[in-house]
């Protein structure tokens, strides 16, 4: 079996990416590939880099150690409630799976976007993180933070307890090195090169445990703080040269999180071990978390086989988001006898914008009327009610789940053949050919829709059939993930069925809609939207510094995006659901507002679970004897958003 094939198979199952890793195409809960740079961006990056160099040289001549501004308002957060359970028990081995073996253990550089890498990223802490329920900042590697009056700079007091896994203290130098590292051409990671040049412009050391991080543009303080909460890179571990990518492929990098890679059998599994004397053990928001001693992630290349492993008790939990698995697979004796439980948990996070992206540079789709008609010709309602069993919900717009920033007045175009007909007539598609598909000047209204997940064929088949009623032919093009990504990034597609990864606090518009990014490959404006009025508003949004302004502009931009008609919203899954063995325990709240996985052993929302070894023995015995327990069926709607 080749790699591309595996890639397609893992698509729906692997975990979401790191929060600060930028945006890429998300294929049904897949890890986001990082968007490469355009030529213009590279030029700008270089210019900026030399400017920085110049400034750095100039400033070095007279100021060796910079001074902290006076009267900084240091803030911290130790007042939010903890979200872990004080009754949690340490110990045991949590067993999970992945569908392919990671191609590298590096965090950046080529091939570092496999699903597995998120386990590594989750153990690579940042300066601060967001409290998963209140969304307020909470300390991670920094204990305090303070904002500069310029709206671009944040000062951090580092936690002197913080240690790399090899015992070396985490100091200001590791953050200075992070900047150097992420800007290095040796890591072959253009997205990071760009982010740490264009967005993060400077890191300043005041002493070993005080730093400042500066961003290019002023922003509201809550957005700014999470933007600049960078991760340190262990200076004592890396030797940057042209061999870095190969040399560090399989080396285990020291990290700051609770787990470290302990053993690897290539092609078989990776096992993490809990650090016994982890520096964060007694920190408020880390307490009672990260309970299993070992976490073993086994390679099981087929989802159905993985499920068999789970049902035999070889895995501890299993994701069941897909209706097919939830309704058909997760049934039967172990569920009825309560050996295995089911949980459905509603969360409240930015929704990946899943749906159809229309390429405006395509001759057929250049006509706004055709795009509108397509919006009216997609019977998502039927897909949701039938193939998806009413389990998913219709996504309303591209940026949903951003709280105040989301414009609640925007709803997708419904399935309406009269409207579709009206717009198609306006575009000159009046006649139907012998097969019922509209024709204009001898050309058929046939559009190619590219997608990557075989399991989505059923959904698209329904859309295709009902679109034919409007006189539009959709041809389904199932591609493997890499090819599709390439084709989309080169903008050689007509309709792309996909989702972006990302999230954050506020929606971003520049990379998706600004004309600077249109009509050229390798930018995220894949729809080639080129609208001067929108450009102006996007720049205004970027430059606005108060939340009220940004919210207003975001609402207006969302309306303009709707009027552009280049995105047809698909569906959203505002919950997660899993099956788990009875010995797996969770806090009373089960998970957090922003959890995208319930039995998540690591990460900023994870580590809440623990294993009850006594109950494990008891359940194993009961299975042999056939003794039943009361069944477990948990539905948690604490964070459900009322439509």
């Amino acid at each position: 079996m080749n790699n591309t094939m595996l890639y397609r198979m893992i698509a729906p199952f692997i975990k979401g990416g790191g929060s600060r890793s930028g945006r890429g195409i998300l294929r049904d809960h897949e890890i986001p590939p990082r968007p490469p740079l355009s030529k213009g961006e590279i030029q700008r990056t270089l210019i900026q880099f030399f400017m920085l160099l110049l400034i750095a040289c100039a400033s070095m001549s007279y100021a060796q150690t910079p001074h902290l501004p006076a009267n900084l308002q240091w803030q911290t957060n130790d007042s939010d409630p903890i979200f872990a359970d004080p009754n949690a028990k340490r110990g045991g081995r949590f067993r999970s799976f992945m569908t392919s073996f990671p191609p590298t253990l590096r965090l950046v550089g080529p091939d570092s976007n496999s699903g597995f890498v998120s386990y590594l990223r989750q153990n690579n802490l940042g300066l601060v993180s967001a409290h998963p329920n209140t969304l307020n900042p909470i300390p991670e590697l920094a204990t305090h933070w303070a904002f500069d009056a310029d709206g671009k700079t944040v000062y951090f007091k580092l936690d002197p307890d913080a240690r790399w896994s090899d015992g070396v203290p985490v100091t200001a130098d590791d953050y200075l090195f992070a900047l150097e590292f992420m800007r290095s051409k040796y890591i072959v990671a253009p997205w990071y090169n760009n982010y740490y040049t264009e967005i993060i412009t400077d890191v300043i050391k005041y002493d070993d445990y005080t730093i400042a991080v500066r961003e290019a543009t002023a922003k509201p303080s809550n957005e700014l703080l999470f933007d600049v909460a960078i991760n340190p890179v262990p200076r004592h571990f890396h030797k940057l040269d042209e061999h870095w990518v190969e040399d560090y492929n399989w080396r285990i990098e020291p990290n700051t999180g609770p787990y470290q890679v302990d053993s690897i059998r290539k092609g078989k599994y990776v096992e993490f071990k809990r650090k016994a004397d982890w520096w964060g053990n007694d920190k408020k928001y880390f307490q009672y978390r990260f309970n299993p001693d070992y976490i073993r992630i086994k390679v099981i290349r087929d989802i159905n086989i993985a499920y068999n492993y789970f049902s035999k008790g070889e895995l501890d939990s299993f994701p069941l988001i897909m209706p097919r698995l939830w309704y058909k697979k997760a049934q039967g004796e172990p569920y009825e006898k309560g050996y295995i439980g089911k949980i459905k948990f509603y969360n409240d996070t930015p929704q990946p914008p899943q749906g159809m992206y229309l390429n405006e540079d395509d001759p057929l789709l250049a006509d706004r009327n055709v795009r509108y008609a397509l919006g009216y010709a997609m019977n998502f309602d039927k897909v949701l009610k039938t193939v998806l069993r009413g389990d998913y919900e219709r996504l309303q717009k591209q940026n949903e789940g951003y709280g105040d920033y989301s414009n609640r007045d925007i709803h997708p175009r419904p399935y309406d053949l009269d409207q579709a007909d009206k717009y198609l007539r306006a575009a000159g598609w009046n006649e139907r050919g012998p097969d019922g598909i509209r024709v204009k000047n001898g050309q058929r209204l046939s559009l190619r829709i590219s997608y990557t997940n075989e399991d989505h064929t059923a959904r698209l088949a329904v859309l295709k059939e009902d679109a034919a009623k409007a006189g539009i032919e959709l041809t389904l093009q199932l591609l493997d993930a890499t090819t599709s990504y390439k084709q989309t990034m080169e903008k050689k597609y007509q309709i792309a069925w996909m989702a972006w990864a990302g999230g954050g606090i506020a929606p971003v518009y520049w990379e998706f809609y600004h004309s600077d990014n249109a009509h050229k490959p390798q930018t995220n404006n894949i729809t080639n939207t080129d609208n001067k009025a929108m450009d102006k508003k996007i720049i205004a949004y970027r430059e606005a510094t108060t939340k009220a302004d940004r919210v207003r502009l975001a609402h207006e931009l969302e309306q303009m995006a709707y009027d552009e008609g280049a995105f047809i919203p698909g569906y959203k899954v505002p919950y997660t659901r899993e099956a788990f063995w009875r010995w797996m325990k969770l806090p009373p709240a089960h998970a957090t507002r922003t959890s995208d996985q319930i039995f998540d052993p690591m990460g900023s929302t994870g580590g809440l679970l623990w294993i009850d070894e006594e109950e494990k023995d008891a359940v194993q015995k009961a299975r042999i004897l056939g003794t039943p327990y009361p069944p477990i069926n948990i539905l948690d709607e604490t964070w459900r958003q009322k439509p």
């Binding site: 039938t386 193939v387 389904l476």
Partner: protein
Amino acid sequence: MRWFRIDPLTRRRWARFRKLRRGYWSAVILGSLILLSVFAELLANNRALLVHYQGRWFFPTYGDVLPGTTFGLDYAYETNYKALQKQFAADSATGTWVIMPPVPYSPYENDLAANEFPPLPPSFERQHYFGTDTSGRDVFARLLYGFRTAIAFSLVLLMFEYLIGVAVGSSMGFFGGLFDLSFQRIIEVWSNTPTLYIIMIVASITPPSFWKLVLIMAAFGWTSMTWYMRTAAYRESARDYVLAARAIGAGNTRIVFRHILPNTISTIVTFIPFSVAGGITALSALDYLGFGLPPPTPSWGELLKQGTDNLESLWIVTSVVVAMTLILTLVTFVGEAIREAFDPKVRLHYE
């Protein structure tokens, strides 16, 4: 055309074949199944066979889409004949009626309704005799059209493979020498290319289509035939009648195609059924792995994949496994019978 003149030998072979009851009846069944699948549109289709409306007759099965307005309905897309049938049945007075095919579903049609979730089990009432698949499409219709695709694929593939294989093989046997030697080496190398990987690579770059798959598979599949043809041609070219033909001035092309080839026809014919079976399984395997024909083309491999992924919906996997076993068994029986009927030991006497 000498090939089509029924000589006594062929007649004798045919008689022998008819005497092998199992093979003969398998051939009859297989032939009629293929014939049926050619007219699949009349058996499983969402278009009506016959509509009688306002004194006019309509045969919608073949031909252009008839928009709903044709029958006084209020939409411009293709008529929903199942709904029309019900509607006409309700006002029976006017003498309008619709005759639907035995299975009134096309292989692409999703029969979905709210609150019931595919796959649906077999139901005579709803005329889903084999149930529906995960998209709510009729399994029987998918099987039937899938069979047509598979058999067409394997026949076209066979034609291409044999065309190249026979031509190259008999030239190798006939000319011998350096030509033979060099081609032997080329074929050895060529036949070691992993076809499946090539197809996977191609499928990951461009979406595969019927003809693309045929061409790739033929490009790598013709080699096996060359060895048999080489041997046969090698043997035949040493016989007296070839010498005689050459003596009266026949050219190489004429000797190969007019004299040697007809005498090696039994080699070719005996291989055909097994190649057909191979073609069907190859296409199904590719579809199963997701590298075959693009969705939503009806195909056995895709059904098999659905079936194994949804073992709890047993009707999907059962239908396709039974159908596949049946067809492959029939083909094998035919193949065996042909081999026996063409067996040279029965008619040749060496002295």
